[in-house]
Each structure stands twice: as structure tokens, then as C-alpha cells.
Symmetry: C2
Subunit: 107 residues, 2 copies
DNA sequence: CAGCATCCGCGAGGATACTG
DNA sequence: CAGTATCCTCGCGGATGCTG
């Protein structure tokens, strides 16, 4: 982490990019709950306290297009869909653990 | 990281708390630039590409009251103030590094 | 059960100008 | 040089209701 002293315009620290994938009120928790395996929409919603259906729906779609999770539609009636972490999503584990450790230490 | 299957209401993952300290468009970069030592307001502003004076001012004040950094006023004319990381601020380093590593790996 | 459409409040962050 | 005050925009996330 070395840097000079001249003015910078477009520069940004690499951590920022990671933050983009983790910011969003529900994203960390979604990842957390999917760490153990796939969950259906409503199962996920029950685990997150108080997410709106619409909001969770949006969040999942965004995370899917970010490549963090994959959506599986069983094409059944009544509908059945589940969500699971992709490899990319799982690879965030160390990051979340570092954050958890910091939060833990901070008291 | 073990958890059951019953409905949860108030639960949240510990990483979220850490996120609160790091979210904010400029916070990660402020921490990054202060890692090497104190910087004066304008020096900091030059390093962050395109922050508004007002926005940086607000950001710094918030981070100060979060205990992440400390502000030192030299009481001179013209004004001279510099900002440096507190111990708490510096302790975020591993977290930022984990995030940086992930961003790095993600291509 | 899963998802979309519509409407809305609120706060983060930017533009600009002024002060000591 | 550092900080504050005012005004404004934009998008996140919530509330509610409808559909297959």
C-alpha cells in the first residue's frame, strides 16, 4: 500500500469495488444465509427480519446480475424457485469474516 | 457460522455493523489515504478525485464522531487542521485488505 | 409461491456561495 | 485554508395491490 503525493483524479482504492457488491441493506445477510446452501424465496424472506417482498426481489435480481448468486426456477406450479451462492459469492466469505471479526473486536 | 431454520426477526450478521463504518462514498478512500499518516484538509481533498468541499467536510466530521479518525486544529491563521486515523481506524486495515484482495482476485 | 407495477418518503451527496 | 449554509437531485428501500 504505497502511494505518492501528487494530485489524483480518477484513482480509487480497490476495496471500493468490493464494497459495491456488499452495500445494500440486505446483501450481507442474504449472503450469510445462503452460505449453508440454497434457499427458496420465502424461506429467505423469513430469515431476514422485515424485508419487503419487493425489496428482496429487487435485491436478489441485482445480486444475480452481479454474479453473486444464481436463481433456479423449477418451472412448477405453484412456483418454486431457489437461490444459491455462486463461486464468486462464496468467495466473499473471508471478507465477511474479516468484517465480523472487526465488529466483534469493537467492544 | 451455524444457524437454525426458524423465523428470525431482529437478527443481523455481525459484518453489517462493520459495513456501517465503511459505507459512504468516500470513507474507504479517506481511510486509505490516512493510513500513512495525517493529512490536511486540502491535501486529502486533492487525493480524493472530485469530492466536494462540503461533502468531505461532512464525511470527516461523521468519521470523527464514529471514532475512526481524529481532527487536530493548530489554531493558526490561516487555518491549519489535519486528520489522522485513530487506533480504531487503523484496525480496519485487515478488513480493507480482505476487500482489496477480493477485488483483485475478481478478474 | 414468486414476481411485477405503481407510488412515495427520505437521506446521501453534489453545486454554489459566503465567512473567519 | 478550513468550514458552514442553502438548495437541489437522485436513487434506495418501503407500502400496497395485482397476476399466473
Amino acid at each position: 500500500m504505497a502511494h505518492d503525493e501528487s494530485p489524483h483524479d480518477g484513482w480509487h482504492c480497490p476495496a471500493e469495488r468490493t464494497l459495491e457488491f456488499l452495500s445494500g441493506k440486505w446483501r450481507p445477510m442474504v449472503i450469510y444465509w445462503l452460505m449453508d446452501g440454497p434457499l427458496r424465496f420465502n424461506a429467505l424472506q423469513r430469515r431476514l427480519g422485515g424485508v419487503t417482498h419487493r425489496t428482496l426481489s429487487k435485491t436478489l435480481k441485482e445480486m444475480e446480475s452481479d454474479g453473486l448468486l444464481s436463481r433456479r426456477d423449477y418451472g412448477e406450479i405453484p412456483p418454486r424457485v431457489d437461490y444459491s451462492l455462486t463461486e464468486k459469492g462464496r468467495s466473499l466469505r473471508p471478507v465477511l469474516e474479516a468484517m465480523a471479526a472487526w465488529a466483534e473486536a469493537g467492544r
